[in-house]
Symmetry: C2
Subunit: 336 residues, 2 copies
């Protein structure tokens, strides 16, 4: 059975939502679980016996703490101790809903990066209208990227789409302001030239719409742009739902309409709800790591644990490692 | 009566949609109109008498033509001739649905920029949940901006929100990946320092969601990021609508639901439909110019003409000019 270390103290609703999510995952037989955190706080929240192993830790990373400060002062935190268990091969994956910048810093520090990966990237899974999933990376904190970083993201995204999504020749695109290669900015234009030479199924520049339309499997972008794009998406979805709710409440006719359309709304909510996906994989570090939304509830945590287990079973990290090593070109770019 | 020059040959549905939109605007008394383009092609599409003045031009800018090529070779195009009429004070504004890069190039070349404006910007008007409008600039082609450019966008956006939207102290924000000032990238961090010193009602970093929630009136960003953000928004809205349509068709219950909710859907469509807004103002050039979506239909053109007329009557450009001159700081930044 795959064993996952769960950071019990990270997230807006920790430790309660984390403990409950871990118990749900265990009960459903998704994975064996080690829960890290303050035993005195977590234990009273748990079933007895719960079947989940607890490793007591004395410190937590705060949600708004600077990653560099956390890295210096919080080595004994539940978050870092989870990564240490993974490094020592006592677990096969880590799930945390804590401070994502700190999670990235600890993952790099404690697990290390794969060869040729300068910057690990957070990949988000986005449902598209064709019923599939398109991934976008980096959605994390890699702002001010260099062209070679984007090329590395492309290779890692390719490995992810092959090993986890089971796509034979993933379509890779660079997120841009228009599809013509004369458009883009300095970064995308240089990255375009590099990625074109990598031997991937590179489809060129894509726009945000292509991701949701399912015209591309892997969307590569700078972490600043990726993050802005995702937050704008959330904003639009939220506004549309608010609009429906407000207008639906307005008259009897609308109320009747809502009654009949309830199932459609429910399905929509399920599809765009991040908690259904659980979390976002951190790619490029030497170990499976799933980073969850700070607002994760128990369902999101449970699904993130299932996700981590899936990544372990599908050999995600071996395929990234192998793929990165195969790209001698990347090394040459790096040496430039 | 305000007189507007309309580029009859620009846009995916030109000249038909343009001619019809111009006629509608004239019939509704929005403005006097000069239509520029091939008389032999446009005249048969028009009512007789139509009341609209035609200025025959012999050349057109193609939708996918490079702006620099257009600038060299298409001086006699319907697009540039419209800007020339404006420069000669024969009209008070220009509306075009043609190649937006070329429109920007001709506007700069023929009309000139205001003092202290290095890069004119396209501002989009975005409906928010509070029933108001938030503007985003630059949504055009200003990729790879410098911090001083963003500061200039902030000042122009402030002038727009005051003079056109009638907001006393417009809330100005810089689009970023998070609200904390420690986040952002090199560009936003430097721009943040400059904009903070401009004496505007600057609210700091904002996220895409804030625009749709109505927490900010003016969102300032690099044209690459702004364009990506807008296209992602369109994508999400389109996907959600597709989802509704597909699921609604599935069963009798859903069909009944749709019948009762029809008005809500209609209102939603009206709110997110760009043709309701008409177009996007180009700010920073010496003359009122509204750039329309390439896919504009006659309603969009009509509304864009009404928009241009409104900008003229509200003295938009005088207020931008004045505001820019007032900011001596900007000059100092520029001189650095």
């Amino acid at each position: 059975m795959v064993k996952i270390a769960v950071d019990g103290m990270g997230g807006d609703y920790a430790p309660h939502a984390i403990v409950k999510g871990a118990e749900l995952a265990y009960k459903e037989g998704l994975a064996d679980i080690v829960l890290l955190g303050n035993e005195g706080v977590m234990k009273p929240l748990m079933a007895n016996p719960s079947g989940i192993e607890i490793v007591h830790t004395s410190d937590n990373v705060d949600m708004d703490e600077s990653p560099s400060v956390a890295l210096r002062k919080k080595r004994d935190s539940s978050m870092n101790k989870a990564f240490e268990l993974l490094r020592e091969d006592k677990v096969q994956g880590v799930v945390t809903a804590g401070n994502s910048g700190a999670a990235m810093a600890f993952a790099i520090f404690t697990l290390g990066r794969f060869q040729f990966v300068e910057r690990p990237a957070i990949a988000t899974l986005n449902p598209n209208v064709k019923g599939g999933i398109s991934i976008l990376l980096d959605a994390g904190g890699n702002v001010d990227c260099k062209p070679a970083h984007l090329a590395q993201f492309a290779v890692m995204g390719d490995a992810f789409a092959r090993s986890v999504l089971g796509i034979d020749a993933p379509r890779i695109g660079i997120l841009s302001n228009a599809s013509e290669v004369t458009k883009g900015n300095d970064l995308t234009r240089e990255a375009h030239v590099i990625v074109k030479g990598l031997g991937l199924n590179y489809v060129g520049y894509v726009e945000g719409m292509d991701m949701y339309k399912g015209n591309v499997d892997v969307v590569v972008t700078d972490g600043f742009v990726g993050n802005v794009a995702l937050k704008v998406s959330e904003g639009v979805a939220e506004v549309l739902m608010t609009f429906f709710k407000e207008n639906i409440g307005k008259g009897l006719k609308s109320k009747i309409g809502y009654f009949f359309l309830k199932d459609v709304f429910k399905e929509l909510k399920r599809r765009i709800d991040f908690s259904e996906y659980g979390g976002a994989p951190l790619l490029g570090v030497d170990g499976v790591c799933v980073i969850c939304h700070g607002r994760s509830d128990e369902k999101a945590i449970k699904n993130a644990i299932g996700m981590a287990k899936g990544f372990v079973e599908k050999g995600l990290n071996d395929s990234i490692k192998e793929k990165m090593q195969g790209f001698q070109l990347l090394q040459r770019i790096k040496e430039k």
